[in-house]
């Protein structure tokens, strides 16, 4: 299957699996959730095709109707507390004029959401408790957690950075610039010793953590607009080296988007994304199908796509 044929087939499956409320669950016929809806919406809207307008409009309506008064989104409609999906929803809604206000409310909530582990009080208590530290990262940097009032982790920090795009920074709360700086510093601090990222534990009890594809690729995509840094080149090298070992379509799709963002050619992998069937990808989740559609879409505008490969 060519990239174009896959994308057409994949988008058709996404449209078929859209729930009546305009959202998507993680699997067909499951309850609509924010994350798969964001990715499916992103894949459909990137197609830039009038056939997707209605599905996109319904998806946007689902996202807007599930935003809470405080500006956040909860992972599941049954939940009443905001979490990491607020970054995703804000990022995808920021592209449309009609949903920009909602996106900015989400970003405002994000700017006020500070992880607990980096609060001065928790850091003071931590320094008094023990001289043998489990991990050695710098607690003064602040990113974002998966849930409020916990610790900073790599992927939610990367998603928040994607929402706090530099090009729109004039619209954001004053704290946004400082949060971006701290988040970038946190990502560099949390890089594994030989490049790449895992969830955010570069060392535990002195043992180097093993990087993983997804956190590495999301972190690199989020860091792309920022100045050159040796951590980025080291991690890109790790990712390029890892691609031939990737076993899953989800990781390959995100790695492919990441390398493309940096103008790098995707090294030969064990399988090709074109050869995956959209129906089989559904077993892994709607979001995985959406990632593959995005990775194969040459017109993608988000996550960033930067011109020709080198």
């Amino acid at each position: 299957m060519t990239a174009g044929l896959f994308t057409d087939a994949g988008l058709a499956v996404l449209k078929e699996t859209q729930n009546g409320d305009g959202g998507w669950g993680y699997h067909p016929k499951s309850r609509s959730r924010i994350e798969p809806t964001c990715w499916a919406y992103c894949a459909l809207s990137s197609a830039n095709d009038s056939a997707q307008v209605s599905a996109c409009s319904n998806a946007r309506r689902f996202l807007l109707s599930h935003q809470q008064n405080e500006g956040f989104w909860a992972a599941s409609p049954e939940m009443k507390t905001g979490n990491w999906v607020t970054s995703l929803a804000s990022a995808v809604l920021l592209h449309e004029v009609e949903s920009e206000k909602a996106a900015l409310a989400g970003i405002s909530w994000l700017c006020k959401d500070y992880p607990f582990d980096s609060s001065p009080l928790v850091r003071l208590l931590g320094s008094l408790r023990s001289k043998t530290r489990v991990s050695q990262h710098n607690d003064s940097y602040r990113g974002w957690g998966w849930t409020p009032r916990t610790s900073s982790w790599v992927e939610p920090t990367a998603f928040a950075l994607l929402a706090l795009q530099e090009s729109r920074v004039q619209l954001f709360p004053a704290a946004a610039s400082e949060r971006r700086k701290l988040a970038v510093a946190l990502l560099y601090d949390r890089m594994c010793p030989d490049g790449g990222w895992n969830c955010g534990n570069p060392r535990v009890y002195g043992v180097a953590g093993q990087p993983l594809v997804l956190p590495t690729a999301w972190a690199l995509i989020a860091l792309h607009p920022f100045p050159e840094h040796e951590c980025k080149s080291q991690s890109l090298a790790w990712l390029e080296n890892e691609v031939p070992k990737i076993e899953s379509p989800g990781s390959l799709a995100v790695a492919s988007m990441c390398l493309e963002t940096y103008g790098k050619k995707l090294p030969a992998a064990k399988f090709s994304l074109h050869d995956c069937s959209p129906d089989s990808l559904l077993q892994d989740g709607i979001h995985i199908l959406a990632w593959v559609c995005l990775a194969l879409n040459t017109n993608r505008n988000w996550p960033a796509r930067v011109g020709e490969t080198i």
């Binding site: 669950g25 599941s76 049954e78 849930t147 610790s151 009890y205 379509p249 989800g250 989740g285």
Partner: protein
């Protein structure tokens, strides 16, 4: 939907628990026969029921030392089907890596079990229902848990025999952290760490109590577990109808004192039996399979 029973029974009202220890020296032997014979002894009420096997799938594991071995999972599934279960699902929600597909490939689950299709449930992505936590062991008031876990008739916790750098040991009770969905709480499920690992273990197991436990101790992990420790062959499988009793016995096999593991000590007052006089020991004696496991210096107090 079969919301799992959450009524707590005080220890003095509980019947004795049963724990069976079987020697099993490697993953190449006929585990299906061994596991079927072992389950048969418990006369489990699984005829026509839906069973969920909850292995410990922590992360990418090409060397096969960190996750419950696929040979054990496959043989257990086959055994429950032979016992008359209508359907045997396998499900987990890996905590540190959201690429469950990659983890399943790295543990070669498909090689041992064939295509599971809809019989594998990524608990990180399942639909959820709110469960009010009535035990108040941690400060969490509620958790959103996978509908599959809450809806099955018979839940089996299938951990690997491992030490743990924060909890001391990770066995069938700690293994239940994997039912907490990453899509709601992240990778890792950090909210549980902030609520207190030991206390969260109690709340989760009270909310979704396993009906049975099977510990893969053929090769376990010692030291800096659950990921970065060292493989340790113990050559055992443990089976039991009380996860607390199974974990207590597993600790004794590792030459560790279960009453010194904070969450196990408390679980012995609310979820099951820790006291060896309340545990009917079947199969091998603990002394005949005792294999001392190394622990981090912080956990030296656990060593017998």
């Amino acid at each position: 939907m079969n919301l799992r029973s959450r009524q707590l029974v005080p220890p003095f009202q509980r019947p004795a628990s049963r724990v069976l220890i079987r020697k099993a020296f490697n993953y190449q032997q006929d585990l299906a026969v061994l596991i079927h014979e072992s389950l048969w002894e418990f006369n489990l009420p699984v005829q026509g029921k839906t069973v969920l096997l909850k292995p410990n799938l922590v992360g990418l594991d090409p060397l096969g030392v960190m996750n419950t071995h696929p040979a054990v999972i496959a043989a257990t599934r086959e055994s429950f089907l032979r016992l008359g279960a209508a359907r045997v699902l396998v499900g987990d929600g890996p905590a540190m890596d959201r690429d469950t597909h990659a983890i399943l490939e790295s543990v070669r689950l498909r090689e041992f079990m064939g295509e599971l299709g809809r019989d594998f449930c990524d608990l990180n992505l399942d639909d959820v229902d709110k469960v009010v936590l009535e035990t108040h062991a941690s400060k969490l008031k509620e958790l959103f848990l996978p509908k599959t876990v809450l809806g099955v008739d018979f839940l089996v916790s299938m951990p690997k025999l491992k030490t743990h750098h924060w909890a001391g040991v990770t066995l069938s009770l700690k293994n239940m952290f994997g039912i907490v969905p990453g899509s709601c709480y992240g990778w890792p499920k950090n909210i549980l760490h902030w609520a207190g690992i030991d206390r969260s273990i109690l709340d989760i197991n009270a909310a979704a109590r396993p009906d049975f436990a099977i510990v893969d101790g053929i090769v376990g992990m010692e030291g800096n577990g659950p990921i970065q420790g060292t493989a340790k062959a113990a050559g055992v499988l443990l089976f039991g109808d009380d996860p607390v009793a199974v974990d207590a016995t597993a600790c004794r096999v590792m030459a560790l004192r279960p009453e010194k593991v904070p969450y196990l000590a408390r679980a012995g007052t609310m979820l099951g039996h820790l006291d060896p006089t309340k545990i009917q020991q079947l199969g091998e004696a603990v002394s005949s399979v005792r294999t001392p496991f190394a622990v981090l210096p912080e956990f030296q107090r656990l060593v017998c």
